[in-house]
């Protein structure tokens, strides 16, 4: 019992540190890539190639005064960023970052919690995350913030449906809700050479899920809740200092989580194709698989960033149209077709 708690705590600390450090790297990457796309230089003053810019930003956010507007509702105003960051970070509890690994004579799974409702847990935690934004908008007592909060709740409700439905196709193929078994199912090969990844078996589900993930993380082209030109800053207009920093952190942590979920469900998770035939020792193979997982997540994150700086923002009615009239029917059709093929 004591040993288990120790191991879980260690895993938890490692995962949290990795996520927080990756957020810093991600912010730096985003600024550099956006600068490259817009033919600017980007941050290049603090440290070599501006590498320490993100750290300078964090220090600035920590030292800034925390201002709460006079008419804001203080308890909820304080609670909102906590909900946001809590939901963003706790999704990672059920994501398998690698296969089993042998350390100090014991075999352990490389995930924090191995529960048999893994995927439902992810869906429910993401659906809780919307409260952070909605409540931030409401408690600021500011019309722009309120509009941002309202937009975000409408958007998340619309896209959660297609997200859930696109997962169903994957679940039907793997026949389990456990994320490690879903990954395990993808380690086979079709015809002896093509990895059995769900992206090849469920391309429609993959597309709908990725689009829904963009909407759920409030990234362009779906960043209507913060739309700077029309809403000033949206839900976080009235936030300063550390609390603003928490929202910022939550946005990037959400991106990392979404990328990790996409990798787990569609890109074979930690599976490194053909590596199991190389005759490596079990420990090296496990390490390579963790690296493969990180590499896949990084590719998706880069895709997120490049998309943000190449596409314009949707109009609000277009956003709703896509959600209800395109994504949802596509996801339902995908479930039907998958069911038919499985029966035949």
């Amino acid at each position: 019992m004591g040993m288990e708690i120790l191991v879980s705590t260690a895993k938890f600390l490692i995962v949290m540190t990795v996520i927080l450090v990756s957020v810093i790297i991600l912010v730096y990457l985003e600024r550099r890539i956006s600068a490259f796309i817009q033919n600017r230089t980007g941050p290049n003053r603090v440290g070599p190639y501006g590498l320490f810019q993100a750290i300078a930003d964090v220090v600035k956010l920590l030292l800034k005064e925390d201002i709460v507007p006079k008419n804001a509702y203080k308890p909820v105003h304080d609670l909102a960023p906590i909900i946001s960051i809590g939901a963003a970070l706790s999704t990672f509890a059920v994501i398998p970052v690698g296969n089993t690994i042998e350390l100090f004579g014991t075999t352990m799974k490389l995930m924090i919690a191995d529960v048999n409702i893994g995927i439902l847990y992810i869906l429910s935690v993401t659906s809780i995350g919307v409260y952070g934004i909605t409540l931030a908008g409401w408690s600021s007592n500011n019309k722009y913030s309120l509009l941002g909060g309202l937009r975000s709740s409408a958007q998340l409700i619309s896209y959660e449906l297609s997200m859930g439905l696109s997962i169903i196709g994957v679940l039907m193929i793997s026949g389990t809700l456990r994320l490690d078994q879903i990954v395990q199912h993808q380690t086979m090969y079709i015809g002896g050479w093509l990895p059995n990844w769900n992206i090849f078996l469920q391309p429609v589900a993959f597309i709908t899920f990725v689009v829904a993930a963009f909407a759920e993380t409030n990234r362009l082209p779906f960043d209507l809740p913060e739309a700077e030109p029309e809403l000033v800053g949206g839900y976080h207009t009235e936030y300063t200092g550390l609390k603003f920093g928490l929202f910022f952190l939550a946005e990037y942590a959400n991106m990392i989580t979404a990328a990790a979920v996409i990798t787990t469900l569609f890109l074979g998770g930690w599976h490194l194709p053909y590596a199991e035939n190389l005759g490596l020792s079990a420990f090296t193979l496990s390490l390579l698989q963790v690296l493969a997982f990180c590499a896949k997540v990084t590719v998706i994150l880069l895709f997120f960033i490049v998309t943000r700086w190449t596409l314009p923002r949707f109009r609000y009615d277009q956003l709703m149209d896509i959600g209800w009239k395109v994504m949802l029917p596509l996801a339902i059709a995908n479930v039907l077709v998958t069911g038919l093929i499985l029966v035949l």
């Binding site: 439902l120 409401w138 409700i157």
Partner: protein
């Protein structure tokens, strides 16, 4: 006291407390927030009963979807705080209060003096009953008819909502 007992009492305290806070708050948004807290405490209670599936569905459906819609509507209408009703003490208030108090006493009597004669047939399989596999099998075998009837009812409700929401039927 085992860990489960402590958890049970803590969660029960939170759920009853948040339910009380929910019905006594003036601001509709705060009421909604306490209701969400109540759902979380209930989900925790389900977990102590090994009903993982029900627990996660409680969060996913009630806290994650239905309450978001509630909050959305409350915020969209921008409802203000409820006015305090200054009613005089009347028989309309005293009689229900007396009846509720009587009911509470009866319930307390039953809970504290009754012997526990609950059937213990499923207790050895308690951990397995709460899983998704078990719930799914039960829904599609023993409870197929009620399940299908519920789905028809839901379909009728959806069609009804669409008809009501349409301004003109042409």
């Amino acid at each position: 006291m085992t860990l489960e007992t402590i958890l049970f009492y803590a969660l029960s305290f939170v759920s009853v407390g948040s339910a009380l806070m929910m019905i006594t708050r003036r601001s509709p948004v705060m009421s909604a927030l306490y209701l969400i807290l109540n759902f979380f405490a209930l989900a925790g209670l389900y977990l102590t009963l090994h009903a993982q599936f029900i627990a996660v569905i409680q969060i996913l459906v009630y806290a994650g979807a239905i309450m978001v819609l509630f909050l959305f509507v409350i915020m969209l209408l921008n409802l203000g705080d409820e006015k305090k009703l200054s009613e005089k003490m009347s028989y309309k208030k005293i009689i229900p209060a007396g009846l509720s108090f009587g009911l509470l006493m009866e319930l307390l009597y039953i809970v504290s003096y009754a012997k526990s004669d609950l059937p213990l047939t499923h207790i050895e399989r308690a951990t397995e009953i709460g899983t998704v596999e078990y719930v799914g099998k039960a829904l599609f075998t023993d409870f197929l008819f009620p399940f299908e009837v519920t789905s028809i009812l839901l379909l009728a409700a959806i069609i009804g909502a669409v008809v009501l929401a349409k301004k003109k039927l042409d």
